[in-house]
């Protein structure tokens, strides 16, 4: 997530919602839970296989005697079921490959073209599929759909098999013992001076950024800079502390043989892991809360420009619409609309799409508001602030010191185009009024009467947020009745109660928009509360790091655990790059291909001759990519928990967003907990 424009959040357009957890975009069962079962189940299956081989290959009669104990009936049955389902899945894979081959043959596609198509599929396939499914169309064949589902079912069986002992032992865990161990970990950590050294550093560097980097931001950006720097530094310092504490905990206990005093007591081994995890997490949670408080104190007591306060020291609660682009023209007083994707003006970063300007332009950007409950909340306001910030692309210099002109046309589902003349007459008359209060009242009444409100020729500059007050009458009109679905405003992405059409009036200029660039401001929340909510994101990352380090330290040495946890966590910040390498969509190819290019002095985008060396390099990359894809499944999505942008841009973090991310956290941590359970269980500590 990033923040290019002021007062505007830039979201991942494909960010998951609660609905996405169990359902696909077309409403069918699947979603993220299915993906999780596929990934976690895959690892569980491999783990199960290793476990079975380990048990069967152990020749010791003592151990052999306990084989039945090590592999229970439930585990055996679910394991067999998983195997069968994986075989069914393999059948679907073969079927889909045959189908694909037949399609290529029917279309007369050569093998080179085939490679090209598959590369495109890798690059855009998921996005296209998502778009299609959003429109209620599932382009996948029966075999393709069921291939995914059987893989998830197989994963579920494998997980059940692997997790059975874990869950059985879980019931034996006692919170009292875990609490005692956590308390011990807490006390030990407090006694280790490393925590205090890091925290002391942190308190110093939490001072406002302008103290260390003077004039590094515009006055209105001063608060953004401070929050950004604070958040980055807190992340670095707390994560480093967490890694050092958690990575070396159990190995140090083993080394100093202090763990013997614990495991000889009636304590479940997993309770040691849990105790360590919770103890360190508690300590760092206290540190995090304290530092967040100190940081807030600095923010509230430092001399920050009033513009910065106005811009960022708030927590906007907003209502978003769904964006689409239309080419619209009038033919015999009838509107004709045609969807398009917006113009790409050639900017490197293509998050925003542009519409062309001019009095006669046909281009429109349209935001549709589909949720009546959100609109009902807005209708209670005296006037509804609509905020927006767009990008501007000029093809001519334009008039100096004058912004690009925008016209907003807002209509509800009750708007009747046949009453256009009537509306225009009344609207023009209202605009003639010199008394602002009277004018606003009249416009409100007209908006409520017709279900339409226009704001013409509003000048804008890029990188600035503007506010327009929309008459509440318009919103009231939109929710005044419960319409039949067919009477709602139709668009590509559903049925809308209210639509806002944006037109650029300045000739030869372009306006760039994205879905979240325009919104209704429902209310303004509490900044300090939001600041603490932002700290939950960092807390989630701390939990991941501690969890990873403790899990690794159950079997590995302290330094190795520290490095593994660090490596995995940092990998989370480079997921985009790793994914591009894993899907062969990056420039220059995989490591072998890149090395070959380096040695040969070839450019990264040049065509390679199909020599044996090149073929070997490409084959090596294929293997590497397969491994990287598996690695990607264990890398935490650290970026997902970076919420400082909400604070920087002054947007409230929604509770459901926090809960959803906590669910993702649990989903990620669960397999690691199971792994830690097995590793701790198999470790011969008391020997």
């Amino acid at each position: 997530m990033a923040s290019p424009l002021l007062g505007v959040m830039e979201y991942d357009p494909n960010a998951p919602s609660w609905k996405d957890v169990f359902f696909e975009r077309d409403g069918s069962i699947g979603g993220l839970a299915q993906s999780w079962l596929q990934d976690a189940g895959g690892f569980a299956a491999v783990g199960l296989l290793v476990w079975v081989i380990y048990v069967l290959a152990t020749p010791s009669p003592a151990v052999a005697g306990s084989r039945r104990k090590l592999i229970s009936k439930f585990m055996a049955v679910t394991g067999v079921l998983a195997l069968i389902t994986y075989l069914v899945w393999a059948g679907f894979v073969v079927t889909t490959n045959i189908e694909k081959k037949q399609r290529y043959e029917a279309a007369g596609v050569t093998s080179e073209q085939q490679q090209q198509i598959e590369k495109q599929e890798r690059e855009q396939g998921k996005q296209r599929l998502r778009e299609k499914m959003e429109q209620g169309v599932d382009p996948r064949s029966f075999a393709e759909r069921w291939r995914e589902r059987t893989l998830a079912i197989a994963g579920l069986f494998a997980l059940l098999a692997v997790c059975e002992p874990f869950f059985l032992d879980f019931a034996r865990l006692r919170w009292r013992r875990i609490f005692a161990l956590a308390k011990l970990s807490f006390k030990e950590a407090v006694r280790r001076r490393v925590v205090w050294v890091f925290l002391l550093f942190l308190i110093v560097i939490l001072f406002p950024t302008s103290w260390f980097l003077p004039r590094s931001a515009k006055p209105e950006d001063a608060l953004k800079a401070t929050i950004n720097v604070n958040s980055t530094l807190m992340t670095v310092m707390l994560i480093a502390t967490a890694l050092l504490l958690a990575g070396f905990s159990i190995p140090t206990d083993v080394k100093n043989q202090t763990i013997h005093t614990i495991v000889t007591k009636p304590v479940e081994r997993f309770e040691v892991v849990m105790g360590r995890f919770l103890g360190y997490l508690t300590l760092l949670t206290i540190a995090l809360v304290a530092l967040t408080g100190v940081s807030l104190l600095f923010i509230f007591t430092s001399n920050i420009s009033p513009k910065a306060i106005e811009e960022s020291r708030k927590a906007r609660v907003v209502v978003y619409g769904k964006l689409e682009f239309l080419k619209e023209r009038f033919q015999n007083r009838q509107r004709e609309s045609k969807a398009f994707e917006g113009i790409d003006v050639g900017k490197e970063y293509s998050y925003r799409h542009f519409i062309a300007g001019g009095p006669l332009t046909t281009h429109r950007a349209i935001w549709s508001f589909t949720d009546p409950s959100e609109l009902k909340r807005l209708a209670e306001l005296p006037a509804v602030p609509m905020q927006f910030a767009f990008d501007v692309y000029r093809t001519t210099k334009g008039v100096e010191n004058k912004g690009i002109e925008c016209t907003f046309e807002m209509t509800t589902w009750k708007w009747d185009a046949a009453r256009e003349d009537e509306y225009v007459k009344e609207y023009s008359a209202a605009n003639q009024k010199s008394n602002d209060v009277e004018k606003a009242e009249l416009l409100n009444a007209i908006a409520e009467k017709y279900g339409r409100y226009d704001h013409k020729n509003f000048p804008i500059h890029d990188y600035h947020t503007y506010t327009l007050n929309v008459p509440t009458g318009l919103i009231r009109n939109a929710i005044s009745e419960s319409p039949a679905t067919e009477s709602l405003l139709k668009n590509q992405r559903g049925s809308a109660y209210l639509q806002i059409k944006l037109k650029c009036e300045s000739p030869s200029q372009f306006i760039g928009v994205a879905e979240y660039d325009l919104y209704f401001l429902e209310s303004e929340g509490n900044f300090w509360l939001n600041y603490f909510k932002g700290a939950i994101g960092l807390w989630c990352r701390l939990a991941i790091v501690i969890g990873l380090a403790v899990a690794a330290s159950t079997y590995l040495a302290g330094v190795v655990s520290f490095l593994i946890a660090l490596f995995l966590f940092l990998g989370g910040y480079f997921q985009d790059f790793l994914r591009s390498v894993a899907s062969d969509t990056n420039v220059g190819g995989g490591p072998f291909e890149s090395f070959h290019r380096l040695v040969k002095g070839q450019t990264s985008a040049g065509e390679l001759d199909k020599t044996p060396t090149v073929q070997a390099s490409l084959f090596g990359d294929e293997i590497y990519r397969w491994l990287l894809n598996r690695f990607l499944n264990v890398v935490p999505d650290a970026e997902r928990f970076t919420w400082s942008n909400y604070l920087v841009q002054g947007f409230s973090i929604r509770p459901d967003f926090i809960l959803l991310n906590l669910l993702f956290l649990v989903a990620y941590m669960l397999p690691w907990a199971v792994l830690a359970y097995y590793l701790m269980r198999s470790r011969e500590i008391a020997a």
Partner: protein
């Protein structure tokens, strides 16, 4: 056994302690921490780390200002600084791609703090902010902010890296380039001027009374800041073309309210004043904008510096550029001089190494071009004043050539200039002259002959003409002082010819000489007024008169003709003085292009001015002919119909005569019977003005002509 072990352990500890003490003593001496006895002082002191670091300027302090927070972070990062810097650099590029400007700014600053003594990142990122980022801004206040950030960042780098000619030169170049030739320059100049005015003084609220502009306060503001106000009021901004192909024009201020609005919209901007007490100048010069070099010269009033206020007459980026150019020249190698204190022409030194480490060779541009920075900036200062109407010492009449309804004041208000072009041209001339003498570009005939005489010995020995061949001095010739001297003279002549060629020095000197002439100032003023008068239909007759005074007719030569003969023919005063032996063809072509451009504009004006009369005459004649033709004007109704028809038909025809021009004052020959303006120049000007399409040039003395750099109309 135990005793032996005990003894050996004690001995070992003793040895270790002795080694530690010895090493400590050695490091104390090597570091140069303690004073040495006089006998060993020189040798030990010379090679001590401290002495070496001071001598080679390796310590943080000797390289420039020390920046504590950056140093602390660098120490904290220990050996991982490189990794962090690489990461931050990549992150900065990513942020730029995603247009996250505030974060880019912060990241760039962090990168530079971590590697403060690498020059290239400072140059790269300052350019990036001042050029690449600033142009992304639609709002000019934002654009100005990022230009200021880019320049400020480089100035900060310069303070940490003392004696870097490149950084100083680049700062000067940014000022000169962004505020003189870049897009939207009129507003940017005004903003820079606002940066020099205390916030209290430019408070727009003080110019309002009851919501309306307070004329008294506004007049006082105008009188105090005439350059700012005149630029807003009179500088024409072309921002496109309409459907008919006509220029779309605007002014920043058409009425006083526009000035007030401009002040309101740009109330917050980078400036020179303290944040807490905006009445006083910021004490840290690096926090000021325009950021200036410290007062490095003797005469404080000579250049802008951070310690004194900058008034309306001096608030110009070009003056800031001049100061930085001059500051940059303080740290480049000095030009060698002869016994008469005249510079010896030469090439850029190779492998230059200043024993005191105060002076360095710049990376770019070549040294001779680098040296002319201050003079070039001074020429720009004069040109800018001339373009904005501050040509001589005469006052500015605020409402001159303006309709009654559009006047700003009830009475005629005249405001004295705070600077004028004529004085600046005199300064420019002096600067160019001194620069020429200091570098050997400007030699008298006698001095040149002396060089030629000296060079003959070497040239004759190897059988070539003087100044024809450049070759390394042969080892055998090095032993002969006379031959060596002759070789050096020959090299100096070649270097001078090359330096004249690459710098266009004669042209600049010639231009400054002509422009400082009071006759030229008069001509320029008349032309400026003619342009102003032409914009108002009511005062067009005045415009024609003024043009006629300057350009004259074919029969009667005007002021411009006199100037051409005086400065740009063979009788140049410079040549009469025995200087500038070669013809300054560059300047000659420039002035001829300008001449012809003025003529075209003048002829257009005449045509437009006389158009109604021409139309009337044309229609009358046509109607008469029509009425006189058989069966043509049998009725008055028929005649009237013809009249309207003819009007409709003839107007576009009259409009379409653009490429055709009746003979103008400079289409003929001068008193010496030479063409005033050669055909090749005429063609070029017409192409430049878009009157004819580009086509192969007719054969002439030169192929492509240089583009006119900005003096004159346009």
């Amino acid at each position: 056994m135990e005793m032996i072990s005990h003894h050996s352990s004690g001995r070992r500890k003793l040895v270790y302690i002795s080694i530690m003490i010895a090493l400590l003593a050695v490091t104390i001496v090597a570091r140069g921490v303690v004073a040495m006895p006089s006998g060993v002082k020189d040798t030990a002191g010379h090679w001590s780390i401290q002495q070496q670091s001071e001598r080679l300027e390796l310590s943080e302090m000797s390289q420039g200002d020390v920046e504590l927070s950056g140093a602390a972070v660098r120490l904290l990062l220990t050996g991982s600084r490189g990794i962090v810097v690489c990461g931050l650099w990549i992150s900065a590029q990513e942020k730029q791609k995603r247009q996250e400007w505030n974060e880019l700014d912060l990241t760039v600053k962090s990168v530079l703090k971590l590697q403060p003594h690498f020059i290239i990142p400072w140059l790269f990122q300052s350019w990036n902010l001042a050029y690449n980022v600033s142009v992304q801004m639609d709002n000019l206040n934002d654009m100005y902010y990022y230009i200021a950030r880019g320049i400020g960042l480089l100035a900060e780098g310069e303070s940490i890296n003392r004696n870097s000619p490149d950084m100083r030169y680049e700062i000067a170049f940014y000022y000169q380039n962004k505020f003189s030739v870049s897009d939207k320059v009129t507003t940017l100049r005004c903003l820079l001027q606002l940066s020099c005015i205390p916030k209290e003084e430019r408070d727009y609220r003080k110019l309002l009374k009851g919501g309306e502009v307070d004329t008294v306060a506004f007049q006082a503001f105008c009188e105090k800041h005439p350059q700012l106000i005149r630029r807003m009021r009179e500088t024409l901004i072309r921002y496109g073309r309409d459907e008919q192909g006509e220029d779309l024009i605007m002014y920043l201020a058409v009425k006083p309210r526009d000035v007030v609005d401009f002040l309101r919209d740009n109330e917050v901007l980078p400036n020179r004043f303290n944040e807490i007490n905006p009445r006083v100048l910021e004490t840290n010069r690096l926090k000021q904008f325009p950021v200036l070099p410290p007062a490095f010269y003797t005469g404080e009033a000579e250049e802008l510096n951070p310690n004194r206020p900058i008034g309306d007459g001096e608030a110009s980026a070009l003056r800031a550029a001049r100061a930085w150019f001059r500051y940059a020249n303080e740290v480049v190698p000095e030009n060698p001089k002869d016994s008469q204190e005249v510079g010896i022409p030469g090439f850029s030194p190779v492998n230059y190494r200043d024993p005191e480490r105060k002076r360095r060779m710049p990376r770019r541009p070549m040294l001779i071009i680098f040296r002319q920075g201050p003079a070039r900036a001074q020429t720009y200062v004069a040109e800018q004043l001339s373009k904005e109407g501050w040509i001589d010492r005469s006052p500015w009449n605020v409402d001159e050539f303006v309709d009654v309804g559009q006047r700003w004041f009830k009475n005629q208000i005249e405001i004295k200039p705070t600077a004028n072009a004529q004085e600046e041209w005199e300064r420019a001339y002096k600067k160019w002259w001194d620069h020429g003498r200091d570098t050997g570009l400007n030699l008298t005939t006698a001095e040149l002959h002396a060089y030629q005489r000296r060079a003959e010995l070497y040239a004759n020995k190897y059988g070539f003409r003087v100044g024809e061949r450049l070759e390394p001095l042969r080892p055998s010739d090095q032993r002969d002082p006379a031959l060596k001297d002759s070789y050096e003279a020959n090299t100096a002549l070649i270097a001078r010819a090359r330096n004249l060629h690459v710098t266009n020095y004669e042209s600049f000197l010639h231009q400054a000489d002509a422009e400082k002439d009071p006759l030229m100032a008069r001509a320029r003023k008349l032309l400026f007024e003619a342009e102003r008068a032409y914009r108002n239909p009511i005062t067009r007759s005045e415009s024609v008169d003024k043009y006629l005074q300057v350009l004259g007719t074919q029969e009667k030569m005007g002021l411009w003709g006199e100037l051409l003969l005086k400065h740009f023919r063979t009788r140049s005063p410079l040549q009469k003085d025995g200087l500038l032996q070669t013809a300054s063809s560059g300047q000659k072509e420039k002035i001829l292009e300008e001449t012809y451009e003025y003529q075209i504009r003048f002829m257009r004006l005449i045509r437009d001015y006389n158009r109604p009369k021409l139309q009337l005459a044309n229609l009358t004649l046509f109607d008469i002919l029509r009425a006189g033709s058989p069966g043509g004007a049998a009725s008055a109704y028929h005649l009237a119909t013809c009249d309207r028809l003819l009007q409709t038909l003839n107007l576009p025809a009259l409009n379409a005569v653009d490429p055709f021009f009746p003979p103008g004052p400079f289409d003929g020959v001068d008193p010496d019977n030479n063409l005033w303006v050669p055909d090749v120049v005429k063609m070029q000007v017409r192409m430049n003005m878009g009157l004819i399409k580009s086509q192969p040039m007719p054969s002439g003395p030169r192929g492509a002509l240089p583009k006119r750099p900005g003096v004159g109309p346009g």
